[in-house]
């Protein structure tokens, strides 16, 4: 099972749903982070993600393990795209399942918030007139 997964190919929400579906789970929550067409009013052409892959996988696994343990989830998957990602496509998909919905809502939010703080993946925004590494400078 691809619980944590990094790919240059387009991510599949259906695959994530299938991976976390469980007959004992009454709730399934999925977060999809999409590529937006603008940032601070400026038109974005596309994003390019770079990962330090062995460590990113390790950190994503830590998040999934912690979330499963803390919220008693049945399953959690975290899939992240790398390389060039066009507007409207998925950069990240996080899905989890649990007996009741509240646990999955909280776990999913924890997972995306923590991923944005700890997982060594970087995105560059490409504009008509330049490019910038997101969050690099204060």
């Amino acid at each position: 099972m691809e619980q944590v997964y990094i790919s240059t190919d387009r991510l599949s929400s259906q695959w994530c749903i299938d991976l976390v579906s469980d007959d004992g789970s009454g709730g399934l929550v999925m977060f999809i982070g999409n590529v937006r067409n603008q940032t601070k009013g400026k038109t974005v052409k596309y994003l390019d993600f770079e990962a330090y892959e062995p460590m990113a996988i390790k950190e994503m696994q830590k998040i999934a393990d912690t979330a499963k343990d803390r919220w008693k989830l049945h399953k959690m998957v975290i899939h992240h795209r790398v390389g060039k990602v066009p507007i409207g496509e998925e950069a990240v998909i996080i899905a989890c399942s649990s007996p009741h919905r509240k646990a999955s809502f909280e776990a999913c939010e924890y997972a995306i918030d923590t991923l944005k703080e700890t997982v060594p993946i970087w995105k560059k925004e490409f504009f008509e007139d330049g490019e910038v590494w997101v969050s690099a400078r204060p």
């Binding site: 330090y52 950069a91 944005k116 700890t118 060594p120 997101v134 204060p138």
Partner: protein
Amino acid sequence: MKVTVTAFGIAKDILNKKQTEVEYSGTTVADLRQQLIQEFPEFAKLASLKFAVNTDYVNDDFVLNSNDEVVLIPPVSGG
């Protein structure tokens, strides 16, 4: 001490390459950080600069070995 550092994201742009050898006085990550900032002042302008050794985050007091896989982690922005 001499270590090979690998850089990602904006850190790679600052070094102008993916990997470089750094020679510095001292043994800790803090010593390495000081040397890097001296050679490449742009590092001081980042919102943060963390270090990973053998795929784990390490603190500034971590003592490096010359064969460690040292990676510069500028502010992450996944998701």
